[in-house]
Structure formats: structure tokens, C-alpha cells
Symmetry: C2
Subunit: 137 residues, 2 copies
DNA sequence: TTAGACCTGTGTCTAAGACACAGGTCAAGC
DNA sequence: GCTTGACCTGTGTCTTAGACACAGGTCTAA
């Protein structure tokens, strides 16, 4: 299987497959012509990687998990501990995005009723510089 | 004013100031000793940059805005149009994070009751590979 | 004058691929 | 057999917004 075949068969891009290959998450054989040749084992490996990515694991996490399982050990404890970490991060980012979204949408609606002003020596844009979010009561 | 003085006075890091300087958002004079010397104008410029970053503008956005205002034009129309774009992106990312958070927390609670399994030839980790989110009713 | 503490600019690194590009492959047509 | 063109390949570079490493400069106290 060539890189694009593999990618399409699992609904991803050739660049993504190449990326994982570069990091040695996938270890294709070399064809005579220098092209990389992916076996069925790589297919299921890639399937695993994509599932894990979809669940929020980083590529580095996945590398760890694969290493563990290649040693014959159960990766389950590692997997549980990693997802706990990632979930905490996701929660933080989520809260940050929530706040940002509120700020932005508040700014947008305020600004639509405000007039344009030319810049002055100490003011680039009054919309931004005078913005203060109305705190939730 | 030296880079760290400026940074601390506005609650940011020297690296951030250096970054903006590299991109020529700030244009300090050169001291005799080669150190960068920031004037009061740079202070208010940096203040503006930090406000805009805080509202979700990218550094490239801010560069555009500053350029516009340096030409004496009002940056307000640009600012409104940029924040509309950024808000849409933020909304998308927010929804993605919301979904991801749900998936992850669902996975975590499922997995806590599941046993460890050793890897097999076609299974790296059954937790991940057998995970299916229970769709919201 | 010298020691040490602190500060500086420059260069490199990060995540997870996307993109550019020079060259190779392969089937169709002659 | 040869050639054309379409498509594919691997490698290298680029992206964000800074953080970090580091060699060397500055500055204060002794």
C-alpha cells in the first residue's frame, strides 16, 4: 500500500500519514523504487492512532502508548492517566474559549453602534482601547 | 526603557516584547551598548497590542491594524471585520472543544470501570479501540 | 579591579500537520 | 520502443506566539 492509498482508506491525508511515519509511529517497508510500502499491520496501527487522536491524545502520548504495548505491557493504566491530564487541559482551554467568546461577541455588538474614529497620537483604535466588558451580574 | 522594564510595567514578559519587536510592531531605538531602548510611544503601542491580543486578535491582525492607523486612516472598519472573522473561528473551536470535552469525560468514566488488558497482535488498547460514545438522547 | 548577579540579543524549539517542489512512476498514444 | 502528461513521491520548509538556551555584555559592591 502506498501512502495515499492508506490515507484515503482511513479518511485522512497523505501528509498526516507521512508525519506519523517521520515520527516512526508507522514503520513501512521500502519499495524498490524508494516509495514507502504500508502493510496491513500499519493499517490497523494507523486506525488506532486516528482513534486516539480523536479522543484528544497528543501524538507524543500515542507514541508512549505504542511503545508500552510493543513491550507487551498493558497500556491501559497509562491511557487512563494520560486522558486525565488531557481532559484537565481541555477543560482549561474550554473555559478560556468560553470567556473569550463572550468578550468577543460583547465587543462586536458594542462596536456595531459606535462610530469610526481616526487615530490620534496616543490612540490607535478607540473601539479596542476603550473596550470594557460588562461583567455578568 | 529596557526590554524587561517595559515588559514588567505592562505585566508581560521580555520574550513577548522581543517577539513584537522582531515583527516590527515595536520599533525601539538602539542604545549605544546595542540594547533596545523603548520610548513612551512604544509603551502605549504595547498597551494597545496587549489589549487587542486579549480580545482575540492575532498578531498579524494587529500588524494590519497598526499599519492602517499609521497611514492616518481609521482602523475601525478593519477592526470590526477582523473580529467578526475571529469570533467565527472561536465559535468553531469552542464547539469542537465542547464536543471533545464530552467525549473525553465520557471515556474517562467508562474506563475507570474497565479492566486492563494486555495488547494483542491487532489490538493496542481495548479502552481506546472499543470506545464508542453514548450519544446524547 | 574583580567577582558575581543580572541582563541582553540572537537563534532555536515547540504541535500537528499543510504546502511547495524537484523529480520519479505509470498508463495511453504513437 | 518511445514519449507525453497526469499523478504521485519523499524531503524540506512554513505556520503561531512566544518560551527557552546561551554566549557574552553591564553594573553594582567589595
Amino acid at each position: 500500500m502506498k501512502v495515499t492509498e492508506l490515507a484515503k482508506s482511513l479518511g485522512t491525508t497523505a501528509d498526516t500519514v507521512r508525519y506519523y511515519t517521520r515520527l516512526e509511529l508507522l514503520k513501512p517497508a521500502k519499495s524498490v523504487n524508494g516509495y514507502k510500502s504500508y502493510s496491513n499491520k500499519e493499517v490497523s496501527r494507523l486506525k488506532f492512532i486516528l482513534s486516539a487522536r480523536n479522543l484528544g491524545f497528543s501524538v507524543a502520548d500515542i507514541k508512549q502508548i505504542l511503545n508500552e504495548s510493543e513491550d507487551g505491557k498493558s497500556a491501559c493504566p497509562l491511557v487512563r492517566s494520560l486522558i486525565k491530564e488531557r481532559l484537565e487541559e481541555t477543560e482549561k482551554q474550554f473555559q478560556a474559549m468560553l470567556a473569550l467568546r463572550g468578550k468577543m461577541s460583547s465587543a462586536l455588538s458594542q462596536w456595531e453602534e459606535m462610530e469610526d474614529k481616526a487615530p490620534t497620537a496616543n490612540m490607535v483604535c478607540h473601539l479596542i482601547e476603550n473596550f470594557e466588558q460588562i461583567k455578568k451580574a
